[in-house]
Symmetry: C2
DNA sequence: ATAATATGACTGACCAGTCAGTCATCGTCA
DNA sequence: TGACGATGACTGACTGGTCAGTCATATTAT
C-alpha cells in the first residue's frame, strides 16, 4: 500500500477490447439485427414527436448492443452511432449507462408482461389454456429478440440486484402465482393427477426457459422445436392427449 | 536500470475524482466466498509444488472474480490481488485474459462431467437411476459454486463461441445422448408411457437448469427446494410413486 | 429572436499487457 | 558439508489505448 491512491472505487465497468495480439475486430461486429431501418416516412417536425422518436431509436440501439455484448462490454459510442445520434444526446435521455440499462430492461419487460398477462379466461380444458399460453410465449418470446432479454436478465441479474428484484416482483412472482392457480384449477377438475405440482409451478414453465437458453447457445448446433417439446411436456403433466 | 525516468509529477493536480452523481461503490464489493483461507500448512519448498499451488490459487481467484463480475468487468489486478500474486505472474500461467477465462471454464467443466458421467449402471428401475443422478447433480452443482459456472456459460456463451461449442460438444450433446438412451430403456421396460419423451431429453433436465438459475437470481426472494421439485418432476415422467 | 436541443471534441480515470530488475532455489564444486 | 554462481519465477511500475461522462458551441423549433 504505497501510494496507489485508489480513488474511492468509482464507477465499475470495464470493457475488454484490448487490441493487443489477436485483433479479430471483424468477429466483434454486431449481428446487425434486421431492425426496421425504415427511412422515416414521417419527418416529424414538432419537438415532442422528434423527442419520442429519438428516444425510441436510442432504446432500440441500446437493446441491440446490450444483448450482443452485455452491460460492461457495451460502448455508448456504439449505441450512439447505431441510434444515429451523438453521444451527448444519450445523456439528454438517460442519466448514465447504468440507468440506461436498467430503464431499458424495465421498458422491455412491461410489454412482455402485457403480452403474457392478457387472457386469463379459461374456457374449456385448462390444458388448452396452458397450451395457448405456451404458444404465445414461444411465438412472442422464444422465437424473437425478447428471448434475448430474458437471457440478458439471467446474465446481468446477479450484478444488478435492482433488475433481478424488479423482474422477480413484476414477472416471476406474478407468473408463478397465476400458474399455481391454473394448476390448482386443473387439479380440482381432475385434469392433473399429480397434486404436488401445485407446489412447483416452475415445473410447468421450465421447458420454456430452457428453450430460450438453448436457442441462444446451441441453436447453431442443434435447432430445437420448442413448441413440439412443450406439447410433449404438457402430455406429461396432463396425461397423453387422446386425439392428435 | 529500467525506470530512471521517475517522473517528477509534483502531483499538484487534484485527482478531481469524477464523482458524478450516484456512487454506489459498496454494491461492487465481491461477496468474498468463504473459501478455505487456510494459511498454507504446507510451506511447499520445491518449485514444482509452489508452481502448482500458485496456479491453483490463480484459478480459484479468477473463478471467483469472473463469476461475480462476468468476463468484461473483471479486472486482472483484482484477480492477482485475490490470488496473492503480482499481476505479471498471471501472465506466466496464462497467455491473456481471454485464454485465462476459456481455460478456466474448461478445467472447471471437466470435473463436473466426471462427477456426472460416473455411474451409468442401471440396477433396478430407471427412475432410481435418474433420481440418483439428479440427487448428485443438485448436491454437487445446484447447491455449490459449480452452478455459477453453468450460469457463467449461459451468460458469456454467446460472446465466446469457443466456449459454447466446447460445452455443447463435451457436456450437452453427450448428456442428451445418455439421457435419451435412459429414456429409451425406460420406455422399453414400460416405466415411461410417453414415448415422445425420447425426442426431447431436455425435458428431463429442464427443472435442474431452472433450479440453477433460480438459485442465483431469486434464492433471496424465494428459496427453492430443488430436490423436492425434481422428485415431483420425476412423478410426472414416471407416474406417481406408490410408496413414499 | 432565443430557448431548447443536439453535437462531438475533450478530459481523465482506468486497465490489459510488458519487461527490467530482484531474489529464492537449485546445481555444483571445493 | 557449505559456499557460490546460474536459473528463472516473481514483481510492480509503466505504457498505450479505451471509453464514460462533460461542456462549449452549433442547430433548430417555436
Amino acid at each position: 500500500m504505497a501510494m496507489t491512491k485508489r480513488i474511492e472505487e468509482t464507477n465499475r465497468s470495464r470493457p475488454a477490447k484490448r487490441r493487443t495480439t489477436t485483433i479479430r475486430a471483424a468477429a466483434t461486429r454486431i449481428p446487425k439485427v434486421a431492425s426496421a431501418k425504415l427511412p422515416e416516412p414521417k419527418p416529424a417536425a414538432n419537438r415532442a414527436e422528434k423527442s419520442a422518436e429519438r428516444r425510441a431509436a436510442i432504446v432500440e440501439a441500446a437493446m441491440d448492443e446490450f444483448i450482443a455484448r452485455g452491460f460492461a462490454a457495451t460502448r455508448l459510442d456504439d449505441v450512439a452511432k447505431r441510434a444515429g445520434v451523438a453521444k451527448g444526446t444519450l445523456y439528454l435521455y438517460f442519466k448514465d449507462k447504468e440507468s440506461m440499462f436498467e430503464e431499458l430492461i424495465r421498458t422491455a419487460v412491461v410489454p412482455l408482461v402485457n403480452r403474457m398477462a392478457a387472457p386469463p379466461t379459461i374456457t374449456g380444458p385448462v390444458r388448452d389454456a396452458v397450451e395457448r399460453f405456451a404458444e404465445t410465449f414461444i411465438r412472442e418470446i422464444v422465437s424473437t429478440r425478447r428471448g434475448d432479454i430474458v437471457r440478458l436478465i439471467v446474465s446481468e441479474g446477479p450484478r444488478f440486484p435492482t433488475i433481478a428484484d424488479f423482474y422477480f416482483r413484476e414477472v416471476v412472482s406474478k407468473g408463478m402465482a397465476a400458474m399455481q392457480a391454473l394448476i390448482q384449477l386443473a387439479i380440482t377438475r381432475g385434469e392433473i393427477r399429480q397434486r404436488q405440482l401445485a407446489q412447483f409451478p416452475q415445473l410447468v414453465v421450465a421447458p420454456a426457459i430452457v428453450a430460450v437458453i438453448w436457442q441462444s447457445l446451441f441453436a447453431r448446433h442443434a435447432p430445437l422445436d420448442a413448441l413440439a417439446m412443450f406439447k410433449v411436456h404438457l402430455d406429461l403433466i396432463f396425461g397423453e392427449r387422446s386425439k392428435p
